[in-house]
């Protein structure tokens, strides 16, 4: 990997919630939405972030862009710590760091035309641009995301979900950012349209050499688009691995469980899978388990897992994993699968 453009070091975001003891008495509890997360992102690299709802993936994105205040840690963008900047300095930085949202309709102002929506960031960051230049740049951008120039004067309600997401992408890219954070950009779209948008993002990333952070709960989409994948659970990093090894050799039991949970559109393969769904549900974020946060749902948990938090270890391959048993797990899983197959054939 070339010198990283973005370095996130021990980033934490905490929220205070009112535990609600009474009308006039308050008791605040701290939720560690993001807990000491570190990673690096190379230029023109795509990092996928997966996890289930409440794992802190969106909060992490917002913290990187300075939209929530971190409780600790650093976000180093091209050598500069963003967490130190004041609001005005941060505002200026945002032409380099852009965001694409989940809800294609909700993130566009219904009273503005497409042209106005895409021109707004330009007016904001380049107030001296002439109307001619603006018009040209906007038209070029719309063409790049696959919209027709004659659609420039239409309103968001005249477009489908996929087209609205294209408008959102145009708005993010029009100011020539170097990092784009996509927060669940395709989860509100139908499958056939989802593929169009995934392809478009990939193509634009290649063409413009963007660094991309792609957040989603759908592991198959994330794995498809990313170079590396970061798996989060209850605010913590469980595993960081390159896209090929994450499916073939998942090191963390949670990654393994996520992969097993995704149904495969092939009846023979799907029915033949030794499916073990993860029991239980996400523990409360106000009162996370001691030691490894995943241990309450982990099929391989032992007493030592409760004793202390597993460190994020860097493996020979460069992948990282936070599990004290990661070396034993492939063997344990194979053993379990064998035992199950036997039980199946006996019954």
């Amino acid at each position: 990997m070339r010198a990283p453009v973005l370095k996130v070091e021990d980033l934490s975001v905490h929220f205070q919630v009112d535990a609600g003891i009474g009308l006039f008495r308050h008791d605040y509890q701290t939720i560690r939405a993001v807990d000491r997360v570190s990673f690096e992102l190379g230029p023109a690299e795509t990092l996928g972030i997966v996890g289930e709802s409440g794992c802190g993936k969106s909060t992490l994105a917002r913290a990187i862009l300075g939209l929530v205040k971190p409780a600790g840690g650093r976000v180093v963008w091209l050598g500069e710590n963003l967490a130190r900047l004041d609001a005005e300095q941060m505002r200026k930085k945002r032409s380099e760091l852009q965001l694409i949202f989940q809800d294609p309709f909700g993130s566009l102002d219904p009273r503005m035309t497409v042209g106005q929506i895409v021109a707004e960031p330009l007016k904001n960051f380049y107030p001296s641009m002439s109307r001619m230049q603006l018009r040209e740049r906007v038209a070029g951008m719309l063409k790049m995301v696959g919209l027709a120039p004659e659609q420039i004067n239409r309103y968001p309600h005249e477009f489908s979900g996929g087209q609205c997401q294209r408008i959102g992408i145009a708005r993010a890219l029009v100011v020539n950012p170097r990092l784009v954070v996509c927060d669940e950009p395709v989860s509100a779209l139908d499958v056939s349209i989802q593929a169009q948008i995934v392809n478009l993002l990939k193509e634009l990333q290649n063409k413009l050499q963007l660094a991309l952070i792609f957040i989603a709960h759908d592991l198959s989409v994330v794995q498809h688009i990313s170079d590396r994948v970061l798996v989060m659970y209850l605010g913590r990093v469980m595993e960081v691995a390159d896209r090929n090894s994450i499916y073939k050799n998942p090191a963390h039991p949670y990654t393994r469980a996520l992969i097993e949970s995704v149904p495969i559109p092939d009846p023979k393969a799907e029915r033949a899978r030794a499916r073990k769904s993860l029991g239980g549900e996400l523990p409360s974020a106000t009162n996370p388990p001691s030691g490894c946060v995943f241990r309450t749902r982990c099929p391989y948990a032992i007493d030592a897992c409760a004793a202390r938090e597993p460190p994020l270890e860097t493996l020979e391959s460069g992948n990282q994993v936070a599990c004290i048993r990661h070396q034993e797990i492939p063997a344990l899983a194979a053993e379990q699968a064998r035992a199950e197959a036997e039980a199946e054939s006996n019954s």
Binding site: E52, S192, R271
Partner: protein, 328 residues
């Protein structure tokens, strides 16, 4: 005899913008104990098919055609007659489990109401049966759950309660409309496993409405693929996935990223957008997005048998075979 026999179902909605043609002449058969998947994207008419069957269309909606359930015509039944069937012989679970439950009533009260209403059970017997059912759908501490309210449970737990409620009266047919879409993947997998077990153990037929081909692959015996209110293809599960007969089915299967195939190439997206249901184009509704469209597609194709049980709505005799594995 088929448990459910739908013939030429047409559902439309009158809106200020014009008439929306949601379902256009749908026919299907479902046998007892069978699991049928209805697959399609938003606006394909899969949910409105179910709503029309259950007499739950919005006020501006109209349904015509024939929906026979055990020989009885469901369309045009009075509200009273329909109520005696809903929840008793046919039940339905919805996408959003939390808002489908009544926030003012405890889980127990909601379950008991179903039994006292449809089965004339005494309160105590109904309570016992409800606890049993909660246990069967895998909820821990069922007696305590009975006293809790929907907001005290997670989404996955609420969906288990919905499934329990749907199965309380041992219905002949359970309609599940995107039952796992609102849930996290690990919980999704729990609920799918549960649905699979229930369909194996009971004689209840299931109509599973979903956009997720993976879920269909795991659970269903037969599949209908819908597009713009029409059935594009209807087939048994294995042939449909192995060798899709309709270009839309093929396109859908190819646009899903597959983790079990390690290619990072371009996904084969279906270009364009679904047609406007107010102003449907003449001919095949898929022709504007179809890679194989030719002159004849301007004529509306009929649903015709391909081989055996299989049907497709397409003028093409055979599709060019897709490369297995998107070139991996």
């Amino acid at each position: 005899m088929a448990l459910l026999e739908i013939r030429d179902l047409v559902v439309s909605f009158d809106t200020p913008e014009g008439r929306v043609h949601a379902v256009n002449g749908l026919s299907l058969d479902l046998d007892p104990g069978q699991t049928l998947g209805i697959v399609g994207e938003s606006g394909s008419g899969k949910t409105q098919t179910a709503m029309a069957m259950m007499g739950l269309l919005a006020e501006n909606g109209r349904a015509s055609g024939s929906v026979r359930f055990r020989g009885q015509q469901l369309l045009g039944l009075s509200r009273r007659e329909m109520t005696s069937i809903r929840g008793s012989k046919i039940s339905m679970i919805f996408q959003d489990p939390v808002s489908s439950l009544n926030p003012y009533l405890s889980i127990g009260d909601q379950l008991i109401e179903v039994l006292t209403h449809h089965r004339n059970l005494k309160h105590k017997a109904a309570r016992e049966r409800a606890v049993e059912m909660l246990q069967q759908v895998g909820l821990s501490d069922p007696r305590q759950r009975m006293r809790q309210y929907p907001h005290q449970l997670s989404g996955g737990m609420c969906q288990r309660v919905m499934i329990a409620m749907g199965l309380l009266c041992q219905p002949d047919l359970l309609i599940a409309d995107e039952p796992t879409t609102a849930l996290d993947v690990t919980v999704q997998s729990q609920i799918n496993t549960l649905m699979g077990e229930l369909s194996e153990q009971s004689s209840t037929a299931i109509m599973l409405i979903t956009h997720d081909l993976g879920v269909v692959a795991g659970l269903c015996d037969k599949v209908l693929v819908m597009y713009a209110g029409e059935v594009m293809e209807s087939a048994d599960i294995e042939p449909l996935f192995e060798d899709p007969a309709h270009p839309y089915t093929q396109g859908l299967l190819e646009s899903v990223p597959r983790m079990d195939r390690s290619d990072s190439g371009i996904l084969k997206a279906i270009p364009g957008n679904p047609p406007d249901l107010i102003d449907l184009p003449p001919g095949c509704p898929f022709r504007q997005r179809c890679p194989y469209a030719f002159d004849r597609c301007i004529e509306h194709p009929e649903l015709r048998p391909v081989d055996g049980q299989r049907q497709k709505r397409c003028h093409l005799e055979a599709l060019p075979k897709i490369m297995n594995g998107q070139g991996s």
